[in-house]
């Protein structure tokens, strides 16, 4: 289960990072458009690839990992806070950009 938590956490951190980076650094947005036709499509495709790749890599390196209720509980709460922070960061970023 740990590999899915790690993949979810990396993916949830990636979302505000790519969003803000692409808005502040135009060449990144242009790169996404040139490769994927639309920047949002690029962000979506990268998200899927990132989740699968991180799950695969961490799964291979955690082959002997045993399930642990305490660790899973910590991962659940960590994911909860990260998702909340990630969503709020995106909203605040666009609010600040609008008010500039």
């Amino acid at each position: 289960m740990k590999k899915y938590f790690i993949a979810a956490i990396v993916s949830i951190i990636y979302i505000p990072l790519i969003t803000i980076a692409a808005e502040l650094y135009a060449p990144l947005k242009d790169f996404l458009k040139s490769v994927f036709w639309h920047h949002w499509l690029g962000k979506s495709v990268i998200l899927i690839i990132l989740f699968i790749a991180v799950a695969f890599i961490s799964g291979a390196s955690l082959a002997k990992y045993e399930e642990d209720n305490n660790k899973d509980g910590k991962f659940l709460i960590g994911t909860l806070w990260l998702a909340t922070f990630s969503a709020l960061t995106v909203v605040l970023f666009f609010m600040i950009e609008y008010m500039k």
Binding site: M1, Y4, F5, A8, S11, I12, I15, P16, T19, H38, W40, L41, K43, S44, L47, F51, E67, N69, D72, G73, L76, I77, T79, L80, A83, T84, S86, A87, V90, V91, F94, M95, E97, Y98
Partner: protein, 163 residues
């Protein structure tokens, strides 16, 4: 033009339907978690896989609308009296939405692999319930954000029509 309008309306309709079904499936999962029992584990798993599948369908259908039809709506909102409908709300919605397939998949796979731990460990179940509740809140927030975007578009069109 007619084909364009009908197709765009159908896509928005199904984006909304799949989005609401995601929310309803998550509410169903919350109910199964609150009244958990051995015989309910099957329904917990089904409800969370239903949430994930509907989130993916809402992503595909909404994405198709966003990529092919929304570019014609965007300037209407931006040039209207409520440009924040696009500049804040749509920009935030299209990116926050991406959290949902990740969260719903995580919830579904956790229930599939660790359902007995959820049954036997109240502390773990409570934490899982919190994460499921956050996913539910995000889904219904998407519906409100969607309403605010159409508010911006509607106001701009009504003013243009002389209302």
């Amino acid at each position: 033009m007619t084909t364009f309008l009908i197709t765009s309306q159908i896509l928005v309709f199904f984006h909304l339907v799949f989005g609401e079904l995601t929310g309803v499936s998550l509410l169903w999962a919350i109910k199964e978690l609150v009244y958990i029992g051995q015989e309910r584990l099957k329904w917990l798993k089904i409800s969370l896989w239903a949430a994930f599948i509907n989130a993916v369908l809402a992503w595909i259908v909404g994405g198709t609308y966003y990529l092919f039809f929304y570019p014609l709506v965007k300037p209407v909102i931006k040039e209207g009296p409520q440009p924040w409908g696009h500049l804040i709300i749509m920009e935030a919605k299209e990116h926050i939405f991406l959290i949902l397939p990740v969260l719903t998949f995580l919830l579904a796979i956790f229930a599939a692999k660790r359902s007995h731990a959820l049954l036997e460990n109240p502390s773990l179940r409570k934490k899982f319930l919190w994460l499921t509740s956050l996913a539910t809140l995000l889904v219904f927030s998407m519906a409100i954000l969607g309403y605010l975007i159409t508010w911006g578009a509607r106001t701009a069109l009504w003013l243009k029509a002389g209302l």
